[in-house]
Amino acid sequence: MTPLAGYLLVAALVFAIGLAGALTRRNAILVLIGIELMLNAANLNLIAFWRYGPHPELLTGMMFAVFSIAVAAAEAAVGLGLVISIYRHTRTTDLDEMNRMKG
């Protein structure tokens, strides 16, 4: 197993765990945590490919990951702001109870 494959597997595992968390936990914040984990796993993927892939001097992978981190931060801020706003309205963060968009 090449090192790259190892890193990829780890990233896949973290991604799956993050997804599991996002899909199964009741609390909205924990869903956001899961999403952060998924983003991180993707970052790991990118860096691994940058390290072991062709033309690392172009810094493509690294840049991609850095931008991803920035975006993730922004998204976390907004997301958490939204959760807080919703909490103010509904007094709960339980996702199971938030089904007003039910069709």
Partner: protein, 695 residues
């Protein structure tokens, strides 16, 4: 009729002949104008009618004068004016009018009598609210009758004939609210129609044989020798020639209109109309139209027969024999029935039928002049009698039963005297007009070669005529007044025409005595010298004496039985007491109507029922079947539409709805579910991509 010896024919149309068409046209135009007037315009209507007829009278006087002068100068006047009316391929149908002695004399009589009756009607119908309509119809009648008289075309004659029949219907049923009047009008129309059908057949046959319907047309007319010869040569059934059968068919039409024996049933019922109508139409003019028609087509009727010794009267032909016997039978038949009637107008009606029979017999045996002379004299005194009867009815406050009248001699003197004059003329008392005309007929019957039967029948008829007229006069004018209320004399407008007619009834006979046979000569285009020696001709004197005796016998019998007695209405008649069964038969009009009712009418009713059944069951059944099939289709269609189309559509919509509902369940409103779906989709997509790139 052969051209007379010594008279030169005058055939070119003079100016009066050119405008002859105005004579019928003016009353018809007046009728049209009156039809457009409103009901209250009474005086205008009657003045218009009388005025137009007066103009017609003037014109016919001028025409008569013209013919008279021509005759007196030795011309045989026969002026025709023809025009083509219809174009059928290469041939044309022509119409036209003729001015000859026959049409001049008849036209003058019709115009004069009509005018007098018009004046009389203004008084008689003064209280009727449909005054205007009356004069409209009356005027139309007068115009159409004059059209019949002057017509030179058999087709034009037939058209005017039909209009005359129509106006007769309209006038008989003038008081249409009375069911009896409406029924009588219908009866008149239907009965004359039966005759008219045969008449039409005759016209068509004549046209097919000769190719023309004009009477006189410079040698090629239907009554001129060439055409007559063609018709004689034509063959019909039973070994008769076409001329005979055509003549008989035309006679059938005349029999209907003139009330000859089998078709007489409508005339007595026609008394439902107002009295002026009875006087004008059913005494003087319309019923005479049939006699006039036979006189007009006499050359055809006499075709093939040998001429008599003086060339004036043709020998007997089959057609003329039939005419004679029918006429004689009618004369006696109707006179018998008249004896037992109680309605004043009905007595006169049956008397009319009887006298028409005399006219027909006279035509058959004695020729045109004999028949026409009696027609002219009869017109005057029968119109007089009807108008007198109308005056009496008016005076007795619309009472028509003779048993409820009486003593009018004192209350209505003018009416009595004029009526008596007319009655004597009708009975044939010498020297009144009726004597001379009836005697001419009896003379021709006496000298008829085929048989003496008509002679004895007509003599018996004369006896009966005197008898029943005496009876009527005794009932109405003599004895005590049995009516209710006091009778009063009629106004001048009604009595003056009576006087004028009475004058003619008395004096007109002078035109036809054996001493001075002016009328006969006038009609047959020969000179008319006045010779008292005419009385000396063989058989004339004896005949005159015989008929006078017969008349006196009749008058005496009547006076003896009815005289000055005034039996009450509920008492049986004197004759009824003497011979009750015979009286019963005569009172029932010898069951003619009942016979028709059992045979013709019953057959017709049966046929109508058959047709009704057929129509209702068969045709109705067919229509119902078609309808049912349509309904069936409609039901099936509806079923199909409801079950399949509607059902299918509804089901489809339901499924879409349910499907939508099902699909909507995906939208739970919960974020994590959406995420899961996303994840699943990604997984599947990735799997596909990887799988495809691997291969």
């Amino acid at each position: 009729m052969q051209e007379s010896m010594g008279f030169t024919p005058q055939l070119t149309a003079s100016s009066i002949a050119q405008i002859l068409w105005l004579i019928p046209a003016m009353p018809i135009a007046a009728s049209g104008v009156i039809a457009l007037m409103k009901q209250p315009a009474r005086r205008a209507a009657s003045w218009l009618a009388i005025g137009s007829l007066a103009v017609s009278l003037l014109l016919s006087l001028v025409a008569f004068g013209h013919v008279l002068t021509g005759w007196s100068h030795g011309f045989s006047v026969r002026e025709t004016v023809d025009f083509s009316w219809l174009q059928m391929g290469t041939g044309t149908v022509d119409l036209g009018w003729v001015l000859d002695p026959l049409s001049a004399v008849m036209g003058l009589m019709v115009a004069l009598v009509s005018l007098l009756i018009f004046v009389y009607s203004t008084g008689y119908m003064a209280h009727d609210e449909n005054y205007t309509r009356f004069f409209c119809f009356l005027s139309l009648f007068a115009g159409a009758m004059l059209g019949v008289v002057i017509s030179n075309s058999l087709l034009l004659l037939f058209m005017c004939w039909e209009i005359v029949g129509l106006t007769s219907y309209l006038l008989i049923g003038f008081w249409y609210q009375k069911p009896s009047a409406a029924a009588a009008a219908k009866k008149a129309f239907v009965t004359t129609r039966v005759g008219d059908i045969f008449f039409l057949l005759g016209i068509v046959w004549l046209f097919s044989e000769t190719g023309t319907l004009l009477f006189y047309n410079h040698g090629v007319g239907a009554l001129e020798p060439e055409a007559i010869a063609t018709m004689l040569a034509g063959k019909a059934a039973l070994g008769l020639s076409a001329a005979t059968v055509i003549g008989l068919l035309i006679f059938a039409g005349a029999a209907g209109k003139s009330g000859q024996l089998p078709l007489h049933v409508w005339l007595p019922d026609a008394m439902e109309g107002p009295t002026p109508v009875s006087a004008l139409i059913h005494a003087a003019t319309m019923v005479a139209a049939g006699v006039y028609l036979i006189a007009r087509v006499y050359p055809l009727m006499a075709a093939g027969g040998a001429l008599s010794h003086d060339g004036a009267v043709a020998g007997t032909t089959t057609a003329l024999t039939v005419v004679t016997w029918v006429g004689a039978a009618t004369a006696v038949f109707a006179a018998l029935i008249a004896v037992a009637q109680n309605d004043i107008k009905r007595i006169l009606a049956y008397s009319t039928v009887s006298q028409l029979g005399y006219m027909m017999a006279g035509l058959g045996m004695g020729g045109v002049a004999v028949g026409m002379f009696h027609l002219i004299t009869h017109a005057f005194f029968k119109a007089l009698l009807f108008m007198g009867a109308g005056s009496a009815i008016h005076g007795c406050h619309e009472e028509q039963d003779v048993r409820r009248m009486g003593g009018l001699r004192k209350d209505m003197p003018t009416t009595f005297i004029t009526y008596a004059a007319g009655m004597m003329a009708l009975a044939g008392f010498i020297p009144l007009a009726g004597f001379w005309s009836k005697d001419a007929i009896l003379e021709s019957a006496h000298t008829w070669k085929s048989s003496q039967g008509p002679y004895f029948l007509l003599v018996f008829g004369a006896l009966l005529t005197a008898f029943y007229m005496t009876r009527q006069v005794c009932y109405v004018f003599f004895g005590e007044s049995r009516g209710h209320g006091h009778a009063h004399e009629s106004p001048r407008v009604m009595t003056v025409p009576l006087v004028i007619l009475a004058f003619f009834a008395v004096t007109l006979g002078a035109l036809g005595t054996p001493a001075w046979p002016w009328f006969r000569s006038f009609l047959t285009d020969r000179p008319a010298p006045f010779e008292l020696a005419g009385f000396g001709e063989p058989g004339i004197a004896a005949l005159m004496v015989t008929s006078t005796l017969v008349v006196i016998l009749g008058l005496s019998l009547g006076w003896w039985m009815y005289g000055n007695k005034s039996p009450r209405a509920d008492e049986p008649d004197a004759l009824e007491k003497a011979a009750p069964t015979v009286w019963g038969w005569l009172a029932k009009k010898l069951y003619a109507d009942e016979l028709y009712g059992v045979t013709v009418i019953a057959l017709y009713a049966w046929w109508a029922r058959v047709a009704d059944w057929f129509d209702r069951r068969v045709w109705g059944g067919l229509v119902a079947a078609v309808t049912l099939s349509f309904r069936g289709f409609a039901y099936f269609d509806r079923f199909f539409d409801q079950q399949f189309v509607d059902g299918g559509f509804d089901k489809g919509c339901e499924e879409i709805y349910t499907g939508g509902g099902l699909l909507a369940r995906v939208q739970t409103g919960r974020v994590q579910h959406y995420l899961r779906l996303l994840a699943v989709a990604v997984v599947i997509l990735a799997a596909i991509l990887i799988w495809s790139s691997r291969g």
